[in-house]
């Protein structure tokens, strides 16, 4: 094939791809026209593939789950309407800060409300914030709506009482026992609040900031001088 014809075909295909369908049909020579059509089909076949691969790269961005902050704000707004006195201090878009008093009713509402339906308690853990403040944090997830929310409840170390949610989520049984074991947060209404990891007769709450190791345990001496690892 001569270079002229090849150039003609290339130009026609480019035009056709840009939207001018007659560019190929108007080629007078039959053989050249057929070749141009074949080249156009080939080009068209390659083109969508490129678009597909572009789509794949861009898909994860589009399919990301709805930003969790929306859920937090939605739950926070509903909570403020239903339990106006339970929100603790200023709220933000990452978590919900609650007072311990109505926690059981709120938890039941969060679980049963069809809009939220938090049927899964994924984690409960404790924090010692210092200055005599302890905090229990709950991470809820909804299997139905695929959204999640974090609830934080702050209590004083002198009276660390938080209502237990063990009867709502069975998994809270051991979560709360662990938080009790490490921080001494008293989950009122828990059916079996014992230490879970440490022995029953252990003294103190080891993950609190003011924890001091006991000197002996059942006659076993705990060495006081601990140097050599720095």
């Amino acid at each position: 094939m001569s270079e002229d014809k090849q150039k003609l075909i290339n130009d026609a295909v480019e035009k056709a791809l840009a939207g001018d369908a007659d560019a190929v049909n108007n080629i007078e020579d039959r053989v050249t026209r057929a070749k141009a059509k074949a080249a156009l089909v080939k080009a068209q076949r390659e083109q969508p593939k490129k678009e597909d691969s572009n789509d794949d790269a861009s898909k994860p961005d589009e399919k990301e789950p709805p930003v969790s902050n929306n859920t937090v704000q939605k739950v926070s707004a509903s909570l403020a309407a239903k339990f106006p006195k339970s929100l603790d201090g200023e709220q933000n878009s990452d978590w919900i800060q609650l007072k311990p008093e109505n926690w059981f009713e709120i938890a039941k509402w969060l679980k049963d409300n069809p809009d939220f339906y938090f049927d899964s308690l994924q984690c409960n853990t404790g924090f010692d914030l210092g200055e005599g403040l302890l905090e229990s944090r709950y991470n809820f997830h909804s299997m139905k709506h695929l959204h999640c929310v974090e609830i934080r409840i702050r209590v004083s170390a002198e009276k660390p009482d938080i209502p237990s949610v063990e009867s709502l989520w069975r998994v809270a049984d051991w979560f709360e026992r662990e938080t009790y074991d490490m921080f001494g947060i008293n989950f009122t209404g828990h059916s079996d609040l014992r230490r879970i990891l440490l022995p029953e007769d252990w003294e103190g709450w080891p993950l609190r900031k003011d924890y001091e190791e006991q000197e002996t345990y059942h006659g076993i001496v705990v060495p006081k001088v601990k140097e050599g690892w720095e």
Binding site: L198, P199, P206, Y211, H218, I220, P223, K226, G228, W229
Partner: protein
């Protein structure tokens, strides 16, 4: 050898009963597998086919009643320390203890900040051989067990110490 000469057939070895006993003990120290942490994996590897502890007469047992050696393989927490002591007491004499790994010898990485870790198993039971390492390789454990065998071989169970 005047007294014993020509009194026995061929292929008879004459030796002190004391030495025979300690030889028998040293060649079959069955160990109580007491794996409490990652060292247990190395202990299992030592007992498995590649390193094959059985070729030096060492067999893992799962009960303290059937074991001569307790290999404390891993971190011993305060909660576990009481159980270690109880299980050691359940073993029949003669009994030996190998402390395997940093945790069992000294508390290891939990020396300074592990409020719940026993700082060395020798605080609750007497230890015969310490095997350092974190965790020690099976070769190190085998070396420790060979040392223990030497130690047992030197023992004289029937000789009463005087004074």
């Amino acid at each position: 050898m005047g007294l014993l000469e020509n009194r026995f057939d061929d292929n008879v070895v004459v030796e002190k009963l004391d030495k025979l006993l300690s030889w028998a003990r040293s060649t079959s120290p069955w160990f109580f597998q007491f794996g409490t942490a990652c060292c247990a994996i190395e202990m299992m590897a030592a007992a498995a086919s590649r390193h094959d502890l059985m070729r030096i007469g060492i067999i893992p047992r799962s009960s303290p009643r059937q074991a001569d050696v307790m290999i404390v393989a891993g971190t011993v927490t305060m909660k576990m320390a009481l159980r270690v002591k109880k299980l050691y007491e359940q073993m029949a004499d003669p009994k030996y203890v190998v402390a395997m790994g940093s945790c069992a010898t000294s508390g290891g990485p939990y020396w300074q900040h592990g409020y719940h870790v026993l700082k060395g198993v020798d605080l609750v039971i007497p230890v015969d051989v310490y095997v350092p390492g974190c965790p020690p390789r099976p070769e190190a454990l085998i070396e420790g067990l060979l040392k223990l065998q030497e130690q047992i071989l030197e023992g004289r169970p029937l000789t009463r110490k005087t004074g």
